[in-house]
Amino acid sequence: MPVTLTSLDDVKFTVDKEVAERSILIKNMIEDVGESDSPIPLPNVSSAVLKKVIEYCEHHRNDPVQVQDETDDPRKRSNDIEEWDMKFMTVDQEMLFEIILAANYLDIKPLLDVGCKTVANIIKGKTPEEIRKVFNIVNDFTPEEEAQIKKENEWAEDR
């Protein structure tokens, strides 16, 4: 059964229910509303981003649904990114951030993981200043705070 999703800019996307329900948010909305032809509004997601999200969900439609375990050991997470996902995430930084925000809002854990792994790979090997520059982040430490934190974590550099 098809489901219609409406983006922030009022663009409609019709997708299979199975694909749409890769988003836990949408899945819960469908369950709450029941069978209906009414489009599901997604006011936080633009059409350009929603198109990418749908592309991801289509490709991964048959993947087993990940269950978030509260006792999930974060150390068991794999840092690998599949080849298709890597190509999928080859986008400009603005789109990368929008995909992460959309995956977070729509509650699509695998897509959020891929987005965050991509950001982590960008960060690897960079100094704090380089990280700020790449992501346009403002340094809000006082010089004293910065010196204290540097001293606290000196042992961790080059480890």
């Binding site: 050991d73 974060p74 951030f97 961790a156």
Partner: protein
Amino acid sequence: MLHPLALPEIIEKVGSFLAWRHAPDITAIVKPSDLASCVRVNRIWHQTLTPLIWTVFRDDVAAEWGIPADSAASLTKHVRFAYLSQGSQLIPIHSTKLRHLTLGHQDRMWDALNLVCTNKQLARLEWLAPFSSTHSPDKNLVRFALSTVTSLTSLALDCWRNSFLDDVIAIAQSNPDLQSLALGSLINLKVQHITNPQLLFNLTELRLESHWGLNTGIEFLVRLCPRLSTLWFRADSTCPYSALALNLAECCPVVASLKCVEGAKDAQSRNVMCTNDGVMCLVQAPHFLIHLEIPVKHLTYDMCDALLDQHASSLKSIRFYIQSADEEDFFCVNEILSRCLNLTSFALNDSDGDDCGMDIWKQAWRAEDICSMLVIPWNCSKLKTLQLTGASPMCYLEDDYPDEGYFGFDSSDEKDEHDASDGQDHQGSISEITTQDMDVDTDSQWTFDIVMENGELKDDQKGSIMSDKYKVYDPFMDIDPTPSELAFDIVLQLLETDSKHMFLGAFSDWLECLGWSLQTDVEMCELAIKKDHKHLLIELFECVATMPVMDQIVMGGVKVVKTC
């Protein structure tokens, strides 16, 4: 647009992918350098990511890295997984939210007591040496500390002395979610008469590593575990096999895995080995056995029958550690591989230790004995991995070997490979040659007539994998051989000429055609295949080529893996 890297939940998730070196087990080591940069980016990053740096704390690593105690003191509150193994007083841990705690050194006893008592939500506790002879605190303190934890899912106690089995049972019973219990190196555990003991319903894994003779009656624990699925046990000559088997048969209807706690090296000792009668007794206890891992001196027909008559259809993984192997052992292996239809992993490990060490001087199994495992066709179509670590097919090139030259002739002839007269001298067919000393299946799909002429390879017979050094041509063949068939022909021919230089390369090429890659611990250019192992390898891989999901074969010094 909201910046995602201003949201704590996103920052934490990104950080988690920076924090851990990929590790195959729970003892992951934090990789802090990238996190150390991240915590200096801005305040929200510092606040969110600092705990990640401290989530896993190992005092051996902390000592190596020189983490300053003063700056760490306030930060150890973030520790969730602690591994304390050093004797000297190091950084004290102030966390009250530990999930896993490993206490491995007797000198940290008071740290241990304190941490256990202040972390009631502990899920996993490994406590080694709480009752050591020179640093023993009052046992009541230890019992009290253990009575404060009630959320354990995994508990391992080691080096308890002069205690009571009902103490252990009481600790287990006060943790209703306990799934795994390991008792190691207990001494003089007293078993008193226990009336109406409460069953440990959630315990599925029990590990009994202690010396049986010093802890008489410890096998009684098995009777309290109705949902036991995996039993690890000390497989030596003092093991009460009959009592253990009876307890399993009467009280553990779903036990499916029997595994010894020792590895290959321990199996060298005569005392750490299952007796034949013990094995036969034990394997008949479970209703359906899925995983078996035990050390034995030899495989015998009786043992094999006892195992397979009951469990041939259920067995999925088998690992035997054996002291030595002869023809009977490999006939037994053949029986197993032909009757266990659901087998996915089979390992026959020699008791010399390393699974893949390049030790060509060790007493390896005889190739003619190993061939006995190929007599009956294998029916284990789900087999993925095969290990025969005592099979050592490789040798160094400088081993004693006649110098045959390029194509099996004396190198002093210095024949040019492109010389037409050489081609004529080599003319002949495999079918004519095979009747002599070779033991190759001439009905095999791989057998062809090979005729060499002028040492030139016809263009339409050149496969993409053909090495230029092999010149094979058959103008009389009325079907087009595949590259793997051509490669196999070369293997057979070089088998006939008993070439030491060329055979390994040809064999490796043939394996590549089958989608396999040969990997050795030593550079292949330094190696050759032992004469007596060539036939074995050919027949083994002819058999393996038919196995649809096989992807790894390990022998001494060599591994063959599926590449496609």
